[in-house]
């Protein structure tokens, strides 16, 4: 008897909605939380049927579930939408299982948790993310068009025979700055997209991506020369990544080109599988000014950096981290020469890859 009292107090005390639905879809029992949440009295619920408290689009699917449970099945982690007496939609998740008395199924019992607040928050988050993506996309798109116009006007000036030669350098520097601004805007758009979408992972030939990124980085520095030393070659390694992997290597190469004061910029890149893991370790090393030890921890987190780093190093590295995080890859920064941060930087990337055997098996991992 005491145990029965305990069970009853638990049923009545919980905030979860508990209901027992009979074969004719009427309610055998509902608890206090159910009545309070849906706004019915202890008398009213006896006249209700299941369809009276379900959101119209949910009736058929929920009645089918109840029917299965009344045949002895158990259904877990189901989501549905109840409708309160005043018309409010109540989002719930829970389990359904048969209630047996003397081996006979007499009702379908449901335990449901009210997740309306969570659902509303999720909806708001999705809406805010979409709005954010829309505005960033619109802003960047229009900004790129404006930048195109300014860039083209400057080039028209440079092509004009009347344009004073002594001002050419100034205009050319302006063009470089304009392209830098465009790249920042483009990076912001990419970061927004990466945050909002699932990555489209595919097998990419590492060398193709690296060489394409190196070419683009070289084009950004017409007065410098990149000397890329590597043991990579076509089809040597296939990595699991998406279209943004090129941005990762481009940003690394671009930083090396930018910060190395020499006109001949040496960059080494090598790759090696890590035994017994699905990862390929890729090391990108330069001979630039390096990154001080106290900066290494936060170098990928530009939003906490000083403003100038957003324009320079920071956003590129934050983009790299965002891209790699999106498909479960890793990056860390070390000294090229152990213990001497002034001798250049070594970025160590861990990317999932397909080894030769897996490629022969059709890429199944």
């Amino acid at each position: 008897m005491e145990q029965m009292q305990l069970i009853l107090s638990l049923i009545e005390g919980t905030n979860d909605l508990i209901q027992c639905v009979k074969h004719d879809s009427s309610f055998e029992f509902v608890n206090r939380a159910w009545l309070e949440t849906l706004g019915y009295s202890d008398v009213e619920f006896r006249r209700l049927h299941l369809k009276d408290v379900l959101f119209p689009g949910q009736v058929k699917i929920h009645e089918e579930l109840i029917s299965e449970v009344l045949k002895g099945e158990t259904r877990t982690n189901i989501e549905t939408i109840f409708v309160a007496k005043d018309g409010t939609a109540i989002y719930v998740e829970g389990n359904l299982f048969p209630l047996r008395i003397e081996n006979k199924i007499v009702a379908a019992t449901g335990f449901f948790r009210d997740i309306t607040s969570r659902k509303k928050t999720e909806e708001k988050l999705i809406e805010a993310t979409s709005r954010n993506e829309f505005f960033v996309d619109l802003l960047v798109h229009d900004l790129m068009n404006i930048n195109q116009e300014i860039l083209s006007m400057a080039e028209i000036l440079l092509m004009s025979p009347e344009f004073p030669k002594q001002l050419e350098g100034l205009v050319r520097e302006g063009l470089v700055e304009l392209e830098k601004a465009s790249r920042i805007a483009s990076n912001i758009r990419k970061m927004t997209k990466i945050g909002a979408e699932r990555p489209r992972i595919e097998q990419l030939d590492l060398w193709s991506v690296v060489s394409s990124a190196a070419t683009t980085a070289m084009e950004a520095f017409p007065d410098k020369k990149m000397h890329l030393r590597t043991d990579l070659s076509t089809k040597k390694y296939s990595v699991l990544a998406d279209e943004y992997l090129k941005d990762v290597f481009f940003s690394l190469f671009h930083n090396s080109m930018k910060f190395d004061k020499n006109n001949d910029v040496e960059i080494e890149i090598d790759a090696e599988p890590i035994k017994h893991t699905p990862f390929l370790r890729i090391q990108v090393m330069d001979r630039g000014p390096g990154i001080a030890d106290e900066e290494k921890e936060s170098v990928f987190d530009s939003f906490t950096h000083r403003r100038e780093s957003i324009i320079g190093l920071g956003l590129g590295l934050t983009l790299i981290k965002t891209i790699l995080d999106s498909y479960g890859a890793f990056i860390r920064v070390e000294d090229r020469v152990d213990g001497d941060s002034s001798k250049g930087t070594k970025f160590v990337l861990l990317l999932r890859y397909m080894n030769h055997d897996e490629k022969q098996q059709g890429g199944k991992k």
């Binding site: 960047v140 798109h141 930048n147 195109q148 116009e149 860039l151 083209s152 028209i156 304009l178 997209k193």
Partner: protein, 119 residues
């Protein structure tokens, strides 16, 4: 030297691009400000332009749709995108465009593309 058609909804961009193209020794044979207008004008042009420089985001009909329809009308049409929206690059190529340049582009890249794609 190529005969070029510019398709972009930005009126000012038409002016600067035309100027650049003329300075590069090319000629602009027609202008369109959305995809549907580009199709209408392309049909009537004789001779056809050597290359169509196509934007993507435009009112009435976007660049990818216009490209698909233009290639149906004339499979030999040479279309190169100049767009700020590089997320549609694969779609544009799939629709029949030969190249995709992401704004902002330098005149050198534009001239190289014209040189490479004009048959």
């Amino acid at each position: 030297m190529a005969m070029i058609m510019i398709v972009d909804d930005d009126i000012f961009l038409h002016k600067v691009l035309e100027r650049i193209l003329i300075l590069g020794g090319h000629s602009v044979v027609d202008h369109a400000y959305n995809g549907a207008e580009a199709l209408e004008k392309y049909v009537t042009l004789n001779p056809k332009p050597n290359i169509v420089l196509m934007d993507h985001r435009m009112p009435i009909m976007n660049g990818v749709t216009a490209t698909r329809e233009l290639i149906e009308l004339d499979s030999k049409a040479v279309i190169v995108f100049i767009s700020a929206d590089n997320s549609v690059e694969a779609e544009a190529i799939d629709a029949g465009a030969l190249g995709f340049l992401t704004k902002p582009i330098r005149s050198k890249d534009l001239f190289d593309a014209i040189h490479n794609y004009v048959r």
